[in-house]
């Protein structure tokens, strides 16, 4: 399902040496432990990509200032202003770090809303680190029971290590040893992301990609192919 035109479109601006990591934080308070974890993951991802001999930069998408625009999007069906720019960043990202606080045994509603309004196809094949914060470690399986299925549904490639940080982990964050050490988990997830993001640029993505509307504008499906699809049966994904 991947044409050359699509894959060049997917990998952002051709010839752009730097890898773009977009960190999405759904923290609500200032300062926010969710944002803190998001920044740790973002920096670690850049370091890990550098170690592989490539340039990288991080862009942060804070969802709190987008809350009203997200509600409007649910009602009108289109993004405005800053939200539109944030979605565009995710669309062009080579890798995504998604961090949410745990609310009522799952990701927060604000976090979910952002992914609800993303057009299908935007995350297809995109490497993603899932991460969450909460007051106690008792919430840690939210990564496996809520976030990982969400991103699987969206056809993202979720790295094996998810990073959960309870309040107490921030007290131990600077430690260099110990199996429960937060920094160690952050680095492991970042390395897994870098392995997917910092590979050779022209390798086809492992996941079949659903064309988004913008991609359809850039390279329209010919009417001949539309007629063929109409008579042949459902699409292959």
């Amino acid at each position: 399902m991947i044409t050359p035109a699509e894959s060049s479109l997917r990998s952002g601006a051709a010839g752009d040496a730097g890898r773009k990591i977009v960190v999405i934080s759904a923290g609500l308070s200032v300062p926010s432990s969710t944002r803190l974890l998001a920044d740790m993951l973002g920096e670690a991802a850049v370091d890990a990509i550098h170690e592989r001999g490539q340039e990288a930069e991080v862009e942060v998408v804070e969802l709190r200032p987008l809350a009203h625009a997200l509600a409007d999007h649910l009602l009108t069906g289109f993004p405005t202003g800053e939200l539109k720019a944030a979605i565009e960043k995710v669309r062009r990202a080579d890798g995504v770090v998604a961090v949410t606080p745990v609310f009522s045994a799952s990701y927060s509603g604000l976090f979910k809303t952002f992914f609800d309004v993303l057009e299908l196809g935007v995350l297809d094949g995109k490497p993603v680190v899932v991460a969450a914060t909460a007051g106690t470690a008792r919430h840690s399986l939210v990564l496996e029971h809520a976030l990982r299925p969400l991103f699987s549904y969206l056809h993202a490639v979720v790295v094996p290590t998810g990073v959960f940080a309870a309040s107490e982990d921030f007290g131990a964050a600077g430690g260099e040893q110990g199996t429960g050490d937060l920094a160690k988990r952050v680095n492991r997830a970042a390395n897994e992301l870098a392995a997917l993001v910092a590979g050779p640029g022209d390798v086809p993505r492992p996941v079949a990609h659903r064309k988004t509307v913008d991609e359809e504008f850039a390279s329209p499906t010919s009417f001949e192919d539309l007629l063929k699809a109409a008579s042949d049966g459902p699409p292959e994904y």
Binding site: L75, F78, A229, A230
Partner: protein, 391 residues
């Protein structure tokens, strides 16, 4: 350039009075609005098609035929006809019939429907929405352009030696527009056939309309129907105007805030900025409308949505009066700035002319197998003339 209105036939409570029209009142109001549209000099009245409350827009062909009988000039159209869930054989019959009844004052716009369940209600699968639109329309065209059709497709029972009746008036099928808010595939379809492309231009930002129309124009040229500038483009739009701009804002705000589609969401200020909705004085509506061509190029049809969100009939008719006042200037200004070589929207008359003149397209039945006779008297001199091609 053609100007007109389109309606979706929503039955919505007036938020300022709490009054909800009955279906009967809303259906009669639709007729009154269509007749008023002709009175103020508009060119097109188009109705939507919905099969669920709170709409009265089912059976659009009855509505259009009824209006057609009470008007003389206005073109009757749809916004939209559900090409996905309606049998194309019925569409072929219904709109050819209205062509005959109204002497060619009809065209139609294909669309895919407003709600998921409309697909299963009519035995279809929403996941096949685009495929249904593609295949059903391919059959519809053949039913209008070929007297005898053999058909084998995926979504309806096959046809063998089938003739859709009546044949299109003067041997010319109604002009077809394809409407889609967000599906580039439909712009591609319109371009492939050299049909018109209509963008709703109400719910989404103009930047999206621009991208859809650009794609349609490029592909229209690609398929050899003419230059991109010559593609046939229609736009929706909506406004609320009063002589005094602030009166318009005050009066329209409660309708906007409670509107079924975008109510309880963005502010009226944000929405008028993000989308083509214009609230203000007639001069402001005039200027905003003229600005549409800045991003879609010279286009052929402008339809406005006026009767929605619970606005009472009286208010809608007042809006039409105000539109009538600025209409001559709007026409003149669009004409003044139009680039040379941009065609008008096709009409029945222009399509007949392009086809080399009107011809009787009647398919006279051959003798049936049982009696070997037909319902035509071969000794009738008028019939003989037809057979010899004199009529």
């Amino acid at each position: 350039m053609q100007f007109g209105i389109f309606t979706v036939g929503d039955v919505t409570t007036d938020p300022t009075t709490g009054k909800t029209p009955t279906e009967h009142e809303r259906i009669k109001a639709t007729v009154a609005i269509a007749k008023k549209a002709e009175d103020i000099g508009l060119d097109v009245f188009a109705t939507g098609e919905h099969h669920n409350p709170p709409f009265i827009a089912s059976n659009p062909t009855a509505t259009l035929a009824y209006i057609g009988a009470q008007t003389e000039r206005i073109i009757l159209s749809t916004a939209t006809t559900l090409i996905t869930t309606t049998d194309p054989v019925l569409i072929a019959e219904d709109y050819a019939k209205i062509q005959h009844l109204t002497d060619g004052r009809v065209d139609l716009m294909m669309g895919r429907g407003n709600t998921g369940p409309v697909y299963p209600w009519f035995g279809k699968d929403i996941r096949q929405g685009i495929n249904l639109a593609i295949e059903n329309y391919a059959l519809l065209r053949r039913l209008w352009t070929e007297d005898v059709v053999d058909w084998n497709g995926r979504f309806r029972t096959p046809l063998q030696g089938y003739t859709s009746t009546p044949r299109p008036l003067d041997g010319v099928a109604p002009f077809v527009w394809h409407g889609s808010i967000r599906s580039p595939e439909i712009a591609e379809q319109a371009a492939y056939y050299g049909d018109g492309f209509f963008h709703n231009h109400i719910f989404w930002p103009s930047s999206h309309t621009e991208a859809m129309v650009r794609l349609y124009r490029q592909r229209f040229e690609h398929y050899g129907h003419g230059t991109a500038d010559q593609a046939i483009v229609g736009l929706g739009g909506q406004f609320f105007m009063r002589k005094n701009s602030q009166d318009a804002w005050n009066e329209f705000r409660p309708y906007f805030d409670n509107a079924p589609v975008y109510g309880h969401g963005p502010s009226l200020e944000d929405f008028t900025e993000a989308t083509p909705l214009t609230v203000g004085s007639p001069q402001q509506v005039l200027e905003r409308t003229l600005s549409f061509r800045d991003y879609v190029g010279d286009y052929q049809r402008q339809l406005f949505l006026l009767d929605h969100a619970g606005l009472p009939l009286k208010t809608v008719l007042e809006q039409l009066d105000l539109l009538g006042e600025i209409l001559p200037t709007m026409r003149a200004e669009f004409d003044r700035v139009r680039k040379p070589g941009v065609p008008d929207a096709p009409t029945h008359a222009s399509l007949v002319e392009k086809a080399g003149g009107a011809k009787d397209s009647t398919v006279y039945a051959a003798g049936d197998a049982a009696t070997g006779t037909t319902d035509r008297d071969l000794d009738d001199p008028e019939v003989a003339k037809v057979l010899e091609g004199e009529l």
